[in-house]
């Protein structure tokens, strides 16, 4: 991986690295902004705005942010794969991201989520998943920020 042409290019160009790094932050911002808004709605905030209206666009925006963050994250990882793979903060971040993805996969397969989208009151199971989601993504950002302090 370290030998990929993109990895060599990023190692050699501060401008390209900064660009990919900035895009990574944009992806994280889009992901967290959208998912936190949706999670807070499920937990009771913004009651005047139905989950049926907010849910689909916020999920799509979060998925777009995730794709951007994951793609740029992979590029950044390739600049120094062995060092990142040995970094506890990086491993914690991957674990939290995996937990966040598992959480949303389980949530959206359940009938309580479909009921909430159909306008029913939000079931406590959905609220639990919303809280777990908030903590997982916030934790992933914290762990991600810590990578540089252990590198």
């Amino acid at each position: 991986m370290a030998g990929w042409p993109a990895a060599a290019f990023l190692r050699g160009s501060v401008a390209a690295y900064a660009l990919v790094n900035a895009a990574h932050i944009m992806g994280i911002g889009l992901l967290f902004g959208a998912i936190a808004t949706l999670d807070l709605r499920l937990l009771g905030a913004f009651p005047g705005h139905p989950v049926a209206h907010l849910g689909p666009p916020l999920r799509r925006a979060a998925a777009g942010g995730l794709a951007l963050a994951a793609g740029t994250g992979l590029l950044l990882f390739t600049t120094r794969p062995l060092a990142y793979a040995a970094n506890p903060a990086f491993l914690a971040k991957l674990g939290l991201v995996a937990f966040g993805l598992l959480n949303v996969a389980l949530l959206t397969r359940g009938r309580h989520w479909r009921a909430a989208l159909a306008g029913a009151p939000v079931h406590p199971a959905v609220q639990g998943a919303a809280l777990a989601s908030l903590l997982a993504w916030a934790g992933a950002i914290l762990a991600g920020r810590w990578i540089g302090f252990l590198q």
Partner: protein, 133 residues
């Protein structure tokens, strides 16, 4: 290079440990400034295990005589390039001498180099900070 953490499953205890480790070293804000490092300069001799020249921060990983791995921070990419040091200047397995300021935290094996010597060539990363040479 020595990878000590190769596990793939990340249990809750391990996660907590990782975060605790991360928070525990919060005193050393990596790279930036000198306040986290000792005022005295230290000379570290060892064998290079990894050479990384590039953004965000050029770094050597160096195995000391006692087998412990040190992180030797070079300058930012511009300062490192100005010193003449490039990816081609050193390779894993070669001997290196690094002069610089080590972390105030004795648990942390991290040195911010002002000068490194490899293949009999000297690279002055922070020429105005080099003392006692």
């Amino acid at each position: 290079m020595g990878l000590h953490r190769t596990g793939t499953r990340l249990g809750a205890a391990r996660l907590a440990l990782a975060l605790a480790l991360a928070l525990g070293s919060a005193g050393a804000a990596a790279h930036h400034g000198w306040s986290w490092a000792e005022g005295e300069q230290t000379e570290l001799r060892g064998t290079i295990r990894e050479v990384y020249v590039g953004p965000p921060h050029p770094t050597l990983r160096v195995e000391a005589a006692d087998g412990r791995i040190w992180t030797v921070e070079l300058g930012n990419p511009r300062l490192t390039a100005n010193s003449g040091f490039t990816t081609e200047s050193a390779r894993a397995g070669e001997a290196v001498t690094a002069l610089g300021n080590r972390s105030r935290n004795p648990e942390e094996r991290r040195l911010k180099a002002v000068r490194i010597t490899v293949r009999d060539r000297t690279y002055d990363i922070y020429p105005d900070r080099i003392r006692g040479s």
